[in-house]
Symmetry: C2
């Protein structure tokens, strides 16, 4: 245990009585050596805590065992949750995940892509900033590194996209809301950071049209990634002006809804589907906090694990096929309506 005098693979091989090339083979794939030798190596491994120098290992390999995971904003627990699942899958498969957050900043995202390139990862799972992303930087990056986009799609970039089906989200919430009460207006940021927001608005409009209902899109001002505050300020303004077109509000995403609910509470507007309630609020994402809002938030939930699993599996397929896929696929997973108290 404490004999950590082993400095390199040469010494370790000598001590375990195996040749260095065979030991090297073992570390790349333990099942590639005969069982008897494997056991001798593992016995030595228990006595001396040697581990190969990862830098020396990766130096020559054109393809490392690293996988890069990039998310736009880690202070959003939604991404925390996704990251947890993705990391788990990568580790199971014998890869080493490296996690990065752009923290909502384009320059930071570019810097991440830059340092990621020099890591020569086997592949990258990238949830881009979206509208704020430097498209050309991402395009260049994807040319050099096998990349699967997730959560937020950018047309044509990466070898595949895995995310949620925005139409499924919106159609379920709109259908539910309009069936059980007044049809909803759509509450969103004027300049949304994320392309999903646009898809959701479009889905809202088409869904309302199909149902023969008049659509109302309410846009609130604000930029950046502080969605809750943007939702809150927008909500306060709308409520004080009494300019909401309907008594039912469908928010583009849960974080806006959290802000809106705060505004309602502050303004003394009771939210829910009870007779004593003035407003219904629903939303999309099933953000980890949406069950703790007051009232708890009716929302359409991502299939977190399906998206994570599929993204990782797609990346593995991509890696196995040498970094290129026959065609760019887009996998979209449907939502599940979560009925809580807010609508």
């Amino acid at each position: 245990m404490a004999h950590s005098e082993i400095r390199n693979m040469e010494e370790f091989a000598a001590i375990s009585g195996i040749s260095r090339p065979t030991v090297s083979k073992y570390f790349h794939d333990p099942s590639s050596v005969r069982k008897s030798t494997r056991m001798r190596i593992e016995a030595a491994l228990e006595k001396y805590d040697y581990r190969p120098n990862i830098y020396a290992m990766n130096q020559n390999r054109k393809l490392t065992k690293n996988i890069g995971i990039v998310v736009p904003y880690l202070a959003d627990p939604f991404f925390g949750e996704i990251v947890r699942m993705i990391e788990g899958r990568c580790i199971e498969a014998g890869f080493t995940p490296s996690l990065f957050s752009a923290h909502g900043d384009q320059a930071h995202e570019n810097a991440i892509l830059d340092s990621l390139r020099s890591m020569k990862p086997a592949g990258v799972l990238l949830a881009p900033l979206g509208r704020q992303s430097d498209k050309s930087a991402i395009e260049t990056f994807c040319k050099h590194v096998p990349t699967v986009l997730f959560d937020s799609n950018i047309d044509g970039m990466g070898e595949a996209f895995v995310g949620s089906d925005n139409h499924s989200f919106v159609s379920q919430t709109v259908e539910y809301l309009s069936r059980t009460g007044e049809a909803p207006c759509f509450f969103e940021m004027r300049t949304p950071a994320n392309p999903n927001a646009n898809k959701r608005r479009i889905a809202y409009l088409s869904m309302m049209e199909r149902l023969g209902l008049e659509p109302h899109v309410v846009k609130v001002d604000g930029t950046g990634w502080g969605f809750e505050e943007i939702g809150r300020r927008g909500g306060l303004k709308l409520l004080s002006e009494k300019s909401l077109p309907t008594n039912t509000v469908l928010c583009s995403n849960d974080r806006l809804a959290i802000g809106l609910l705060a505004a309602c509470y502050e303004s003394g507007v009771r939210v829910g589907r009870g007779a004593d309630c003035a407003l219904r609020v629903a939303s999309h994402d099933d953000h980890p906090f949406s069950r703790f809002t007051c009232p708890s938030l009716t929302t359409a939930a991502h299939d977190y694990s399906a998206v994570s699993d599929n993204a990782v599996e797609t990346l593995f397929r991509l890696i196995e096929s040498g970094g290129r896929l026959e065609s760019r696929t887009e996998s979209l997973f449907p939502a599940r309506l979560i009925m809580r108290d807010s609508a």
Copy 2:
């Protein structure tokens, strides 16, 4: 731009008309070479997008330019926020941060420490799981890698600890609450994951004693990192049993408070300091979401940036002094009371 035929530093040096050792020096510190040569290198750098192989670079360096950042639970936006600040400081100082989350799991934390060791980082900023941590694993790790603990202290481990002064948090909230109304009971988990929780309870007890008030500690059941749900369940139970000893509740942390507020709302208990309110709730941390609860949460705020700055600076000092500090210091930063609507 597109001449990426450069395979190594040798070739790049040839093309830029500079010798390889000088180019090598440049990459380690651009200001260490004469301005004229620096400009020649940078000119070549623009034409040919060469970047040194980081693995080859780090192979010989006993000390890399990497800094490990480990947090216990990344789905908690509190850590997302801290990480953002810490990463920024590291990058400014020319280091490359690597981010890891234990996702609330001991085995995962150990695995992170393990792979971190083989990365030979210049230093590590570690926010341990706390009670769930494998102490001996952390101790061994700290012996091999210059480590500064933050957020959650473990006695004697790491070369320094940087965090918040729990006594400052609790004394301010207790003082405020008892001055403006009924003295608070203390609401916490029966088996808290984090050592700060114990310190806060002790601070509560001593503060109440000093004020000559009778303390009440209310413990709720539940394990793991889903604090909100634990707070909510505990709250529902206490409210239905009407067994809260006071009309003022001081939660150990904001995430529990978020759950408690949800329970109050569900139970129809109005929270706040108005005449129509049955309960006051306050807490500690100034969690990013605490301003969006209903009502917004009165809390004691971490000095996020002071903690981050100090942790990073301490680590830099540690690195500069070769991995050992004269004595283990503990830097604690006071809280700032944030008065909102819940108490």
